[in-house]
């Protein structure tokens, strides 16, 4: 910076005259300014907690959501199959346990409550039923009606389930679970072979191939020559 080559006048005598007034700032002002200066450069160690708490909250929220939905296995898209009544599982419990993980991998995740629903043919809202489901429901209702016809002694005028299954060539070694047996019985109790045939066709149309095949086997055992007599192919 440019310095004065020649000062206009000496400072010191004038400074002495001015300083005679002994003007200085009050001590409180000194203390206030020094405190503000120290505060301005004080380490900000206490500021860490804000981002840390935000991160912890976010992590906790993510963990809760993952835990919640991970347990429930909520499907990304709820398909019609998810809404259908539970399938009659004819595999033995051990086999079902083994195949469970594989099923989870192959099919989209299902809502747990649907998977764990009772295996019985549960009444469903009418709006959800259609096609084979309605046929099955009709068959179940018929069973229910026949059960109502049971007299007070517990005797029925119809053969019991075991007899019906035996009559249809049912192999007890491959016995389905009670609910599945009930459904099989329900189909077997469809009196006319035409209705049974239609129900089997409906099952196959619904994609429940294994059940349709099993039911067809029972049907053929019950009515060995009916298909030939009617000139029909296997449903």
């Amino acid at each position: 910076m440019e310095q004065d080559q020649e000062p206009p006048f000496p400072r010191e005598p004038w400074q002495r005259l001015l300083k005679d007034r002994a003007d200085v700032p009050p001590e409180t002002t000194d203390a206030r300014i020094r405190a503000a200066a120290r505060k301005a450069v004080a380490p900000r160690a206490a500021r860490w907690w804000l981002p840390a708490s935000l991160a912890a909250s976010f992590l906790l929220a993510v963990l809760i959501v993952q835990w919640q939905y991970g347990n429930d296995e909520v499907p990304a898209v709820v398909t019609e199959a998810d809404l259908a009544p539970p399938a009659v599982d004819e595999a033995p419990p051990a086999a079902r346990m083994d195949s469970a993980p594989a099923q989870r991998k192959e099919s989209p995740p299902r809502i747990a409550p649907f998977e764990r629903a009772p295996v019985e043919v549960a009444p469903e809202p009418e709006a959800r039923l259609g096609g084979p489901e309605q046929d099955l429901k009709a068959a179940s209702e018929m069973v229910a009606e026949e059960t109502d016809e049971t007299d007070e002694t517990g005797e029925t005028d119809e053969p019991d389930l075991g007899a019906s299954l035996a009559e249809s060539g049912f192999d007890s070694r491959e016995a389905p679970r009670p609910a599945a047996a009930a459904q099989a019985g329900a189909l077997a109790k469809v009196r006319t072979p035409e209705a049974w045939y239609a129900a089997i066709a409906a099952l196959r149309k619904a994609g429940r191939i294994e059940e349709a095949d099993a039911e067809l086997a029972r049907f053929e055992a019950a009515y060995p020559d009916w298909l030939k007599e009617q000139g029909l192919s296997k449903p």
Binding site: F9, P13, L18, T29, A37, V41, A42
Partner: protein, 188 residues
């Protein structure tokens, strides 16, 4: 400049977080800055406000400070701006310009702590204070920056945003008037 300026180094140290450097800076400049502001704004309460505002700006702008000029130049430029803001806010500058000599002398007397101090301060100091009050603000500021702030003519120009020739001219007029007011008591 600034390489050899001890105050500039202290300010840089303070900006880096050394509170002790600020204490040293403050101790070196508090008296002169206080007197500069007191004689500029005259009102005792306003002096305290402007003084604190000035140092607050120093603290707030510590990281923006660059030792391109002497620290004192930067400090007194801030102080001058604070005085200007005070004048704008209070509208006092115009009134100060219009004050007659008697009122100014009476106002100068108000700043004395008491009769004993007034006697001790000496007649020359009293007359200088009164003469300073009578100066036009620009000349008074130039004089105070030169005497109290220790600024050079060029630095006065920088602090008050005028060219060095104008600053020098204001300083010469100021010293001529003060000498005329003090008579034989004026320093050589």
């Amino acid at each position: 400049m600034g390489e050899g300026d001890a105050d500039a180094r202290l300010m840089l140290r303070y900006a880096a977080g050394d509170a002790g450097a600020f204490d040293a800076l403050y101790a070196a400049h508090r008296g002169a800055l206080w007197r500069f502001i007191r004689r500029s704004v005259k009102d005792a309460a306003a002096t305290d406000d402007v003084f604190q505002e000035c140092w607050s700006r120093v603290i707030a702008n510590r990281e923006r400070y660059r030792p391109e000029a002497r620290f004192a130049t930067w400090l007194y430029r801030i102080a001058h701006n604070c005085c200007m803001d005070h004048w704008r806010k209070s509208g006092r500058r115009d009134r100060r310009e219009a004050m007659d000599d008697g009122a100014i002398a009476a106002a100068a007397d108000e700043s004395l702590d008491g009769p004993v101090e007034a006697v001790l301060a000496g007649e020359a100091s009293e007359r200088l204070a009164a003469a300073l009050e009578r100066l036009p603000p620009e000349q008074r500021t130039a004089f105070l920056l030169y005497v109290e702030g220790g600024l050079s003519v060029a630095e006065i120009g920088e602090a008050t945003a005028v060219n060095p020739e104008t600053a020098k001219s204001r300083l010469r007029y100021a010293i001529a008037r003060l000498k005329q007011s003090l008579g034989d008591d004026a320093p050589d």
